[in-house]
């Protein structure tokens, strides 16, 4: 195992600087550090990492829908070009009132990611400018990447299928029937 010197330094420095504002900080594995904070502090954490620690590049802003716990989890992924370390900063957002701070003054490319999240998850970023439509056009349903959006039902309602196609048919079984092959027990549940 490689020594995780820089990774541990990041964790220690951030913990020392932000004290209680960092909810959780740990080294996931080599080159990957995970921090958890809240929406009030996310801007200062990102600014600190960029200006003081040299995480110059924002790779991505991603989102996870934890529908059971009634929260969205935003993940900001930063990259340190010299030390070659990724840091993931996770923030929880309330699912019913999803509002997060806008950070496109720190990294301009965040604008695109935030517009995508606004479109696909319905997360509002305070003061985000830019056209409302990024990928979808004239969308008036639930944001499609939310887990309570029923894709199949939407498809069945809105599109016409060519008759003769039995959708979600068990392909493996059909082929097996035709060739006389026996499907082993463990493979059955994957055969869809």
């Amino acid at each position: 195992m490689a020594d995780l010197i820089y990774e541990n330094t990041v964790v220690n420095v951030v913990k020392e600087h932000f004290k209680d504002d960092i909810i959780d900080a740990k080294v996931r594995r080599q080159r990957r550090v995970e921090l958890r904070t809240n929406t009030n502090n996310i801007e200062s954490v990102l600014l600190f990492l960029k200006e003081k620690m040299g995480f110059l590049h924002l790779s991505h802003i991603s989102c996870v829908d934890w529908i059971e716990e009634n929260r969205f989890e935003l993940v900001y992924i930063l990259w340190h070009p010299q030390e070659k370390v990724n840091v993931l900063i996770k923030v929880d957002v309330d699912r019913l009132n999803p509002v997060a701070p806008n950070i496109d003054y720190i990294w301009p490319q965040a604008n695109t990611y935030e517009r995508e999240l606004r479109e696909m998850f319905g997360i509002q970023f305070e003061g985000l400018v830019g056209r409302h439509e990024l990928i979808l056009e004239d969308w008036d349903d639930l944001p499609p990447m939310r887990r309570d959006f029923d894709t199949l039902q939407y498809v069945m309602q809105n599109y016409t299928f060519r008759s003769g196609r039995e959708d979600a048919q068990d392909v493996r079984e059909t082929i097996a029937k035709r060739t006389g092959e026996e499907i082993p027990e463990f493979a059955k549940k994957y055969s869809r």
């Binding site: 004239d138 894709t151 939407y154 196609r165």
Partner: protein, 184 residues
């Protein structure tokens, strides 16, 4: 020389000449929609050389004869495709390319791609496969040429006659319909 061509026969000959010219000069609109567009460069360039079958690329819809729908069409793209199709000059032909255009293919449960192309545009030839190899594409072109030669590739006439039906289907998907009636 007592024999004189009557109207029917002479129009037959004219039709034959017209169809001969049309089938031997297919200009394909360079418009790639889905992943199938990646099969077009090998079809057109040295390896498979579609030009020897008189198939050539055209830069704009005005000059093109054939619209290749190369794969899945999202609703957003469908709007652009309809405009491009209607800007093409008659006679014009559509080739549906890949299983996505036939029945949705592997995107059958996607919320944003259409499942059956011929509800929205009149398709003359389908090429199946996911994605079709250049040989299959060439076979599709050959089929189209055969149909044109027989005078059976009449999708564009069909589209004009049944414009209302097509419009209904299109407008069901495209909610914000801000287009002229027919985009000349």
């Amino acid at each position: 020389m007592n024999y004189v061509l009557n109207d029917r026969e002479s129009s037959k000959i004219v039709e034959f000449i017209k169809n001969f010219a049309r089938k031997n000069s297919l200009w394909v609109l360079a418009y790639g929609t889905g992943c199938g567009a990646i099969e077009i460069p090998p079809t057109m360039t040295s390896r498979y050389d579609a030009e020897r079958f008189s198939v050539r690329g055209a830069a704009t819809p005005r000059q093109a004869d054939v619209l290749l729908i190369t794969g899945y069409l999202s609703v957003k793209t469908l709007k652009r495709v309809i405009r491009s199709y209607e800007q093409m000059q008659d006679p014009k032909y559509v080739i549906g390319f890949g299983s996505c255009t036939i029945n949705g293919g592997m995107y059958w449960d996607s919320y944003n791609t259409i499942k059956q192309l011929d509800l929205y545009l009149p398709v003359d030839v389908y090429i199946n496969g996911c994605m079709p190899r250049p040989e299959a594409v060439l076979a599709g072109f050959a089929k189209l040429q055969e149909l044109i030669g027989k005078g059976e590739a009449n999708g564009w006439k069909h589209y004009k006659e049944n414009l209302e039906w097509y419009r209904q289907n299109q407008q069901k998907l495209i909610k914000n319909w801000k287009m002229p009636d027919y985009n000349w």
